[in-house]
């Protein structure tokens, strides 16, 4: 009975939402020709400009790399403060956890739009936005793995009278290092995609060219940029997932 009411509630919610947002498959079928035209305009891709904008691909990669680094750098101490296995002050744990949850609610594109407003339309704004974004993800993942650490493994350090800092240096840091590096790589993969997209709101990198070509209606150039981007992303994903596997296996 209870289950039926729940299902009925969700069906009603869904139908109401469909009604409010004017879901109509007629418009989708009618619009199919337009989408088809749009996509056919993208082919064949025009690769003539890819070499010209290649420095911007490098910029996008650099943005992703540097912001992962900054994010990780900030995330490490915060994750230590948020994990209740390492920091025994309940207040600090709760405070930083709430803070991290708030940080993660803000979507990357929104952060980028805000940073562009604050720092101007350049890669620097993108780096700040992505650093903040990576910081949120890495610290969340890291404090969760810190909490899954076996507390008994820290006992020897406590037994010889080690301080809080030596507990971190000899007990925790070596234990979570592989996981930490693997999270950083994972976030780097996310950041490359994000760095390309946030250019659409002016945060530099290859997204700027996507935006320009959209405005000019040069769809075949867009497809060439996207294909190159996919190639880069796929290569890095492949390498990074290989490294991650080795890190977590050993």
């Amino acid at each position: 009975m209870n289950k039926k009411i729940t299902i009925l509630f969700f069906v009603a919610l869904f139908l109401w939402a469909c009604y409010e947002t004017e879901v109509s498959f007629k418009s989708l079928i009618n619009g199919f020709a337009d989408v088809n035209f749009f996509i056919s305009e993208m082919f064949p891709p025009d690769f003539s400009e890819v070499s010209k904008v290649f420095p911007d691909f490098i910029t996008t990669l650099k943005m992703a790399f540097v912001s992962t680094f900054y994010g990780a750098f900030l995330a490490y101490p915060i994750a230590i403060l948020a994990a209740n296995t390492v920091t025994k002050t309940k207040f600090l744990n709760v405070f930083f956890r709430v803070f991290l949850n708030l940080v993660r609610t803000i979507p990357d594109l929104l952060l980028a739009a805000l940073c562009v407003a604050l720092f101007g339309a350049n890669p620097f704004a993108g780096i700040i936005a992505l650093s903040f974004f990576s910081f949120g993800i890495i610290s969340k993942l890291l404090y969760e793995s810190l909490e899954s650490l076996d507390e008994n493994s820290l006992d020897p350090i406590r037994a010889v009278g080690g301080s809080w800092l030596s507990k971190i240096k000899y007990g925790i840091a070596p234990a979570v290092l592989p996981q930490f590096l693997s999270y950083c790589l994972y976030v780097f993969e996310i950041n490359i995609r994000a760095a390309a997209i946030i250019g659409l709101v002016g945060a530099g990198g290859i997204g700027t060219w996507l935006n320009i070509n959209f405005d000019l209606g040069q769809y075949n150039k867009i497809s060439s940029l996207l294909l190159t981007l996919f190639l880069i992303v796929a290569t890095i994903d492949f390498i990074s997932s290989k490294i991650r596997k080795r890190l977590t296996d050993s």
Binding site: A17, E20, F38, F69, T105, I106
Partner: protein
């Protein structure tokens, strides 16, 4: 990894970080002035203007609806595609082909899909729904296929042993095993989609992003502040509720 290697890595990272110096905006007093004006000025981010709460609430509701419908559509298709893509429930060529297609779908960012669908059905919530639905189908189907591949064979053999047909095998042994995990994945995707739905409006796909876009364009920081608070509240609520349901499920 010993200390020497770590320091070497850090050194290289910092060097790469230094090469992004060229992106640093010029520092002058005017920049600082703008900065403080945007953040804490009379019309700044930290002085949210709550008089537009009706607009913000409407936008947030629309974003919620976009995420809901998009996730439900994706859930419907991914249950079918996921089972077709699983190696233990469908023939090898079919599963291989569907897996490949899903991988291709997943590489297209939501924002780009939104732009494509706007061409088809015009700007508005429906374009956002289609974009989220399409992208989520890619990710959800992959996860559903993984869940399907990990199901226990015992119940399937039990149904077959009492003379059940293929359909009753699916209905009474496979589906009950897949369902709890599937709902959990679906809720997790909903959490991601609510974030995505709040920025899709920036390219014209409806929801709070539209309101945000206009506020950003008009450099109306107090409105941006209000919208930001609204997004943070909604995302936090959704995360909390969905987290509770998920921990009950598994």
């Amino acid at each position: 990894m010993n200390n020497k290697k770590i320091f070497l890595l850090l050194f290289i990272f910092i060097l790469i970080g230094l090469t992004t110096n060229e992106y640093l905006p010029e520092t002058n007093n005017k920049g600082q002035e703008i900065f403080t004006k945007i953040l804490s000025g009379e019309n700044g981010l930290f002085n949210p203007d709550f008089s537009i709460y009706q607009n913000v609430a409407k936008g947030l509701l629309e974003s919620f609806q976009i995420a809901l419908i998009g996730t439900v559509f994706a859930g419907f298709f991914s249950l079918i595609l996921g089972i077709l893509a699983a190696e233990n429930t469908s023939p090898k060529p079919v599963s291989g082909f569907i897996k490949f297609t899903l991988n291709a779908i997943r590489t297209i960012p939501e924002i780009l899909l939104a732009i494509i669908f706007i061409v088809g059905v015009g700007p508005g919530a429906f374009a956002g729904i289609l974009a989220l639905g399409f992208h989520s189908t890619g990710t959800l189907s992959k996860l559903t296929a993984e869940v399907t591949e990990s199901i226990n064979k015992g119940p399937i053999e039990a149904v077959l042993a009492v003379g059940g047909s293929q359909i009753s095998v699916f209905r009474y042994s496979a589906l009950p095993q897949i369902m709890p995990e599937f709902v959990s994945i679906l809720l997790y995707r909903f959490e991601i989609n609510i974030r995505a739905a709040s920025v899709l409006g920036m390219v014209g796909a409806g929801g709070i992003g539209k309101t945000l876009f206009f506020a950003l364009m008009a450099r109306n920081w107090s409105h941006v502040g209000t919208i930001l608070i609204g997004i943070i509240i909604v995302v936090t609520l959704v995360d909390y509720i969905s987290g509770r349901i998920r921990s009950n499920l598994v």
